[in-house]
Symmetry: C2
Subunit: 158 residues, 2 copies
DNA sequence: GGAAAAAAGGATATGTTATAACGTACTTGC
DNA sequence: GCAAGTACGTTATAACATATCCTTTTTTCC
């Protein structure tokens, strides 16, 4: 088993390979600093604000990290389809299936904080139709459904 | 014609009446300060950030206004279905048809800044279905389509 | 009318999210 | 090596939002 650098979160080979592939496609450089941010997000496995992420990275690396650095890394990761931004919460979440470019829809549980990333072709088609009817050329579509997930709904009823 | 107070934007009777009706339904008080914020937003007729709104109100009223006041008024107006928040832009926009409670979808033009508020029952049904399939009980759904509106697309091609 | 309660609003400070401006260092390709 | 482009560090600041505390206004109830 390969030793993990002390200053980065462990990152499963699966995710690293996918990330490398996505970046290679576009000729983008997946540097250690960028990978460290990505690894931290995957390790945490919940939506993080940029400043939560800074705190985690600072703890992990034992040094100060400027907000701007993290924002740049987040931009990079989003540009390459590895991370999504939850617009309504102003938080960031690693993509669940970064094997291909896609638009996602999110189910955000207000009780446990869990976020489900779903991909509905039917919904995307309908959204395109709506845009079309209004003579609108869409670029990027945000769909975020806030509510209570199944697990929490069951617990609530007890 | 009734004289308009010097310290508030003019507000068409149509909008005032609708606002009064919405608030009366819920036993909420549509005070002058709240109405002034609403009037300013309607007068401006484009999405405004909270701080843009503060600046406009300060100019109009010739006095300092604390951010918190405006945020409170915005909360009130949103709670009563008179104003929407555009999550992806962190701006606020008066509702286009505040005659009934509803969820809206937005088409945001990145070129001219215009926002179209649409209401698609088909889309809402589909979103409910998607939530249902995942055992999710939705509460509030954000749909924001960013792109280029018809008018701007035509101009671009010249 | 007048006291108590509730709602709204003002003032000051602070917390949170994001970007600007500028310089340095590290690739890449010739 | 050297020029060009990209990444990244540092400091400062802009932009967005809320906390706390207190005063004023409105409502309610007697």
């Amino acid at each position: 088993m390969a030793r993990q650098s002390a200053s980065a979160a462990p990152l499963a080979a699966k995710w690293r390979k996918l990330a490398e592939a996505r970046c290679a496609e576009k000729g983008e450089r997946l540097t250690p600093a960028r990978l460290a941010v990505y690894a931290e997000m995957l390790a945490c496995n919940r939506p993080l604000s940029a400043y939560e992420l800074i705190a985690l990275l600072e703890q992990r690396q034992g040094r100060k990290i400027a907000p701007l650095s993290v924002y740049r890394h987040l931009d990079f990761l989003m540009r390459n389809g590895l991370v999504h931004r939850l617009q309504s919460a102003q938080t960031y979440l690693p993509c669940d299936h970064p094997d291909h470019p896609h638009e996602s829809q999110f189910l955000l549980c207000s009780s446990c904080g869990h976020v489900d990333e779903v991909e509905s072709r039917g919904l995307e088609t309908l959204l395109s139709q709506i845009a079309d009817e209004h003579g609108f050329r869409p670029d990027d579509t945000v769909v975020e459904i806030k509510g209570v997930c199944g697990t929490c709904a069951v617990e609530d009823s007890h």
